[in-house]
């Protein structure tokens, strides 16, 4: 069995890796609070997860973009915008938007829930694979923000008086919030909990 800070009766700082007596509240080297992972548990993970999901629903229902041209007024949701790109033959860009705004968030919600629900269960996935899944989710999650930036750029650029103008819709806000909340959810997940189950076995 591998000796861990916990099994040695110590508490580790997750910012600078120094170890301290288990009852120390703050790291003397870097000043970060030292959190007892068992006491904090998964509650913050679930809280941010639900907040993220709650924002993700309106983000898909309400328009992301409002386009006004001489002849027409159009509102596009996230998926509607991607469908339109496909219709124009911009497959690559449609793929980027669909991956960043639909695929990544959905996979992220499912993965975090899976990891949190199966924190002690080793039968389906080894610690190693679950840890890798966690790292992928954490790395990839922030890229969802790309669509919000696209909306910001389009709305600032396409302001050609009456000929064409683009403005952000309410979904831009809820989608950004959803990305922020799920990032916080992933960040408050402590990967050491995945490995703790090995020590207890």
């Amino acid at each position: 069995m591998i000796e861990t800070a916990k099994s040695a009766g110590l508490a580790a700082c997750t910012t600078c890796a120094r170890v301290w007596p288990h009852d120390q509240a703050r790291c003397d080297r870097c000043g970060s609070p030292i959190v007892d992972r068992d006491r904090r548990g998964l509650q913050p993970v679930w809280a941010w997860w639900f907040a993220g999901l709650l924002c993700y629903i309106p983000a898909n229902i309400y328009p992301m973009l409002r386009t006004k041209t001489l002849l027409a007024y159009q509102e596009n949701t996230i998926i509607g915008g991607a469908v339109e790109l496909v219709a124009h033959g911009s497959y690559g860009v449609a793929a980027i938007i669909l991956i960043a705004s639909v695929l990544i968030p959905v996979i992220k919600f499912l993965s975090i829930a899976y990891l949190a629900l199966n924190i002690r269960d080793r039968r389906r996935m080894s610690q190693h694979s679950r840890h890798q899944l966690y790292e992928v989710v954490e790395f990839v999650g922030r890229w969802s923000m790309v669509d919000v930036f696209v909306v910001a750029i389009l709305s600032s650029l396409i302001q050609l008086q009456d000929v064409a103008s683009i403005n952000p819709g309410p979904a831009a806000m809820t989608f950004a919030l959803s990305v922020i909340f799920t990032m916080l959810s992933a960040q408050s997940f402590d990967p050491r909990l995945i490995w703790d189950s090995e020590d207890q076995a």
Binding site: G9, L154, I158, Q159
Partner: protein, 216 residues
């Protein structure tokens, strides 16, 4: 970079706490031995990198940070993208992009976008210069250097210059059909700064910096 070495597993008995580190990802305990510049230390349990020191990396990170700072400041003053359609022209600066949400009830989003593409990348770079400057000159760290480095590490996922660059690329393709687009100097500066900021993060080994801050 040479071969990877894992540090030896230890039992904590008889070793002072200050000579130990625990993997930040999986809590495995190791003797705190910094490998030489040719090697990096990885956790034998979860494969997370513990130490990846490199000859001259502080100077390299400092130089990258300085470059990013110059590029951010310069990018603010140059045109970012211009479009023209039917004799009408419009030029956006980075400021215009950031302020595009502010017309409506979306002030919080404006602040978030401003933070993610400008303020946080700039702040992280300033903190890095503040932390590494004295270490490079072989002097004692400036007051609150540990706090500065901690904030910089904590903010890392929220500085999204490189994601913004992808957003610009997508937006350009979208507009392409609608109007004639020409990127300005700030556009190229932003691509460069996103690239260099990524290189800066890859060159910095956080445990090496923490150790240097502690020992100076």
């Amino acid at each position: 970079m040479g071969a990877w070495v894992g540090l030896n597993e230890v039992t904590a008995e008889g070793i002072a706490n200050k000579d130990l580190i625990a993997c930040r990802q999986c809590d495995a305990l190791y003797r705190d031995i910094e490998p030489d510049d040719e090697h990096r230390a990885i956790c034998s349990r979860c494969s997370a990198t513990l130490y990846a020191p490199r000859e001259g990396s502080f100077l390299q990170v400092f130089a990258f940070a300085l470059t990013v700072l110059v590029l951010i400041v310069a990018a603010l003053w140059f045109p970012f993208i211009s479009i023209s359609k039917a004799g009408l022209h419009h030029t956006s600066s980075i400021f215009d992009v950031v302020l595009s949400f502010s017309t409506t009830e979306m002030i919080p989003l404006t602040l978030a976008v401003a933070a993610m593409i400008l303020l946080l990348p700039a702040l992280r770079v300033l903190l890095t210069l503040y932390v590494l400057g004295p270490l490079l000159a072989d002097k004692a760290p400036l007051p609150h250097a540990a706090l500065a480095f901690r904030i910089s590490e904590r903010l890392r996922p929220w500085a999204m210059a490189e994601i913004f660059v992808l957003g610009v690329a997508v937006a350009l393709v979208k507009i392409h059909a609608l109007a004639h687009v020409s990127p300005g100097p700030a556009f190229w500066m932003f691509i460069a700064l996103a690239l260099i900021a990524t290189m800066q993060d890859r060159a910095a080994c956080s445990l090496t910096i923490w150790k240097a801050l502690e020992n100076k």
